[in-house]
């Protein structure tokens, strides 16, 4: 077991946690905003997948920054459909989300098949921005401070989200839209616009998360490559009780578990991937079983809103 205490293993684990955790973090932050506003965005996985594909195509042609922008736009495009169907027209959020996910899975797989099925191009690694001084630290240096700029951006987004929730009218409106939309409406706010904005923001974040997966982490697009990451992000958002920092912690924890198998291989231990992959889910369920309580979620989560509803929710 002494093998596990080597710096190489620690670096691999930490670096892997970041690489696997950043997409979860980005998508989770987006989903958190959407849930705050009362929209359970089950289509998050689809938004990530759309982002991953669009980013790959754009990065292939015009470099990583174009890729990130394209990923965000693609995620927002899917989110726009979600906003129209479930926010504007009040269709069931869960069913709309699932339908969107299926559609995006189909479309991205087809497009990938048509464009890249024979070539399977790979992207060159994205240049990292070493932070002067910090990057030279042992273990933490290469894992944390010698990464592409988008990693730092994702972590800065945590602070930005916290600022939005605490310091802006929009943050206030989000909470009201999720807790009691009729109160927001009566106060002169716009429930539909607030919720739609939250869903679009979720799409942008998830698209960026998907872009990170294809452009930075993998360097390649594979159909269905998000492989449940969107659902994990939804869970992270639900467990974070509205606090962006909690999403960061959860994303790193899940990221570490997801990458532990690779890290163990670096250390020369051949652990079964499937058992390692069960760890984060088991951990979350354990947390739920021990500490889980209802009432932490917004009261109107998942409910369509229409002005003048007799129940006045």
């Amino acid at each position: 077991m002494t093998d596990l205490l080597t710096p190489a293993f620690a670096t691999a684990l930490l670096a892997g946690a970041i690489t696997a955790g950043v997409p979860l973090l980005l998508a989770g932050l987006g989903e958190q905003m959407s849930q705050k506003a009362g929209v359970l965005n089950i289509g998050l996985e689809g938004m990530m997948l759309a982002g991953a594909y669009a980013a790959f195509v754009a990065a292939h042609g015009a470099g990583p920054w174009a890729g990130f922008a394209a990923g965000m736009l693609a995620g927002m495009a899917v989110a726009a459909v979600m906003a129209v169907m479930s926010v504007r027209f009040g269709l069931n959020q869960i069913v709309t989300g699932i339908a969107l996910l299926l559609g995006v899975e189909g479309v991205t797989a087809i497009l990938h098949h048509l464009k890249f099925a024979t070539t399977y191009p790979r992207l060159s690694p994205v240049a990292s921005w070493p932070l002067p001084g910090l990057a030279e630290l042992p273990v933490a240096g290469p894992a944390l401070f010698d990464r592409p700029a988008i990693v730092y951006g994702a972590i800065a987004l945590v602070a930005a989200m916290a600022w939005i929730y605490r310091r802006t009218y929009f943050g206030l409106a989000l909470q009201a839209a999720g807790e009691r939309p009729s109160a927001l409406d009566a106060a002169g706010g716009d429930v539909v616009r607030t919720r739609a904005a939250a869903v679009l923001a979720a799409g942008a974040c998830a698209g960026l998360g998907g872009a990170f997966m294809s452009v930075v982490a993998a360097g390649i697009f594979v159909p269905f490559m998000t492989n449940g990451a969107g659902f994990i992000a939804i869970v992270l958002a639900m467990l974070a009780r509205g606090r962006p920092l909690m999403v960061l912690c959860g994303a790193l924890l899940f990221g570490a578990c997801l990458s532990a198998a690779t890290a163990l291989q670096v250390a020369g231990v051949d652990a079964p991937v499937d058992i390692v992959q069960m760890l984060p889910f088991a951990a979350v369920l354990l947390v739920l079983a021990l500490f889980g309580q209802g009432g932490a979620l917004p009261a109107a989560l998942g409910e369509a809103w229409r002005r003048g509803d007799p129940l006045g929710k």
Binding site: N92, I94, A99, L100, E105, G106, I110, L288, G292, G294
Partner: protein, 356 residues
């Protein structure tokens, strides 16, 4: 008024969206460089009109019908059991592991029965935690059942690779059930037993939910939990029962698929029927008969789509996209219909006043 309200309703809710969705699909196919007419001809030909294609489409409905039954039960009771995929796969693995040895030791019918029971039990067991959390701790079941599903998918792989792996092969998969020991096909081969059982399951669930006291209690809980408490119903107990039954049916879906068609389960195999059937059941408005129609239509589309994909050189995923477009179209139709109904109400109100 050129069309009556009933015809208008049909146009808006079914025919219109269907045609619009097909037109949109055709445009997408054109963009992909595929002749839409040839594609649709192939789908209908190979999925519905050719005997072997129809056969395949019917056979494919078996697990989907069980999952539809599982979801109708849960959704009508207001429970979002989204853990169907995990429950299905665990049921499949357990049935596959037990089938071959039991078929040696027991009469065939008893072996099948034992496999069904075991699959239903593992499915139900996999729902205990989300059910308990929802019933007694008020934890949203969407998340907990999804988590259990992911956990179940991994566990199924672990079981296949380390516990039930066929020693006779290096491929990570369970021992294959000989074709002779699988569920028979009835009516001269036209009707697989699994499909018959699936139909029975859906109809049974439909009957229980609409005609029995138990189903009525579940519906009350699903429609208005506060009214259920006011009426003295045991809401937590009913929640546990719904989860167990729904997950048990999902487990049965796995068993039927393995005993009837697959014969074994390979590692990392996940057909993800659960999420696919959710929108179908929803569009059928949790009605058993409607769900049967939608499930069959989906089977035809996917079988025909696979064939068309091979023939025309488009990827198989076109089916996924068509289903999504159809769903969106039908949902949009419902929105339009609701709006029309509201306008009609308003017009009737005004007309009624004028007449008075």
């Amino acid at each position: 008024m050129i069309v009556g309200p009933a015809a208008g309703h049909f146009l808006r809710v079914v025919a219109g969206p269907l045609l619009a969705a097909l037109a949109l699909t055709a445009i997408v196919l054109l963009l992909l460089g595929v002749d839409p007419a040839a594609y649709f001809r192939q789908v209908v030909q190979r999925g519905l009109l050719s005997p072997s294609g129809l056969q395949a489409a019917i056979t494919r409905t078996a697990p989907l019908l069980f999952i539809a039954a599982s979801l109708i039960l849960a959704f009508r009771a207001g429970i979002w059991n989204l853990g169907g995929d995990g429950q299905y796969l665990l049921g499949a693995v357990v049935a596959a592991a037990l089938a071959a040895p039991l078929a040696q030791a027991l009469p065939l019918w008893l072996a099948w029965l034992a496999c069904f029971a075991a699959a239903a039990a593992i499915g139900a067991a996999w729902s205990v935690l989300p059910a308990w959390l929802r019933a007694f701790r008020g934890v949203n079941e969407v998340v907990s059942s999804l988590m259990m599903s992911f956990l179940g998918l991994s566990l199924a792989n672990v079981l296949i690779k380390f516990v039930f792996q066929d020693p006779g092969t290096t491929v990570p998969q369970t021992v294959t059930l000989p074709v002779a020991d699988r569920l028979p096909r009835l009516l001269g081969g036209a009707l697989p037993t699994g499909v018959l059982l699936g139909l029975l399951a859906v109809l049974m669930v439909h009957w229980v939910m609409t005609r029995t006291a138990f189903g009525t209690r579940l519906r009350i809980v699903g429609l208005n939990a506060r009214a259920a408490a006011h009426a003295g119903l045991d809401v937590p107990g009913l929640t546990l029962a719904v989860f167990a039954l729904s997950a048990g049916l999902a487990g049965l879906a796995g068993a039927v698929d393995v005993l009837g068609v697959q014969g074994n389960v390979r590692a990392d195999w996940n057909p993800a029927y659960g999420l696919m059937v959710v929108p179908l059941v929803f569009l059928a408005r949790f009605n058993g008969f409607g769900a049967i129609v939608f499930v069959f239509a989906f089977s035809v589309l996917s079988v025909g789509g696979e064939s068309a994909a091979r023939r025309l050189g488009v990827p198989n995923y076109v089916t996924l996209m068509i289903v999504a477009i159809l769903l969106a179209g039908l949902a949009a139709g419902e929105v339009l219909d609701q709006r029309a109904a509201r306008r009609r109400d308003a017009a009737r109100a005004a007309g009624g006043e004028a007449a008075r």
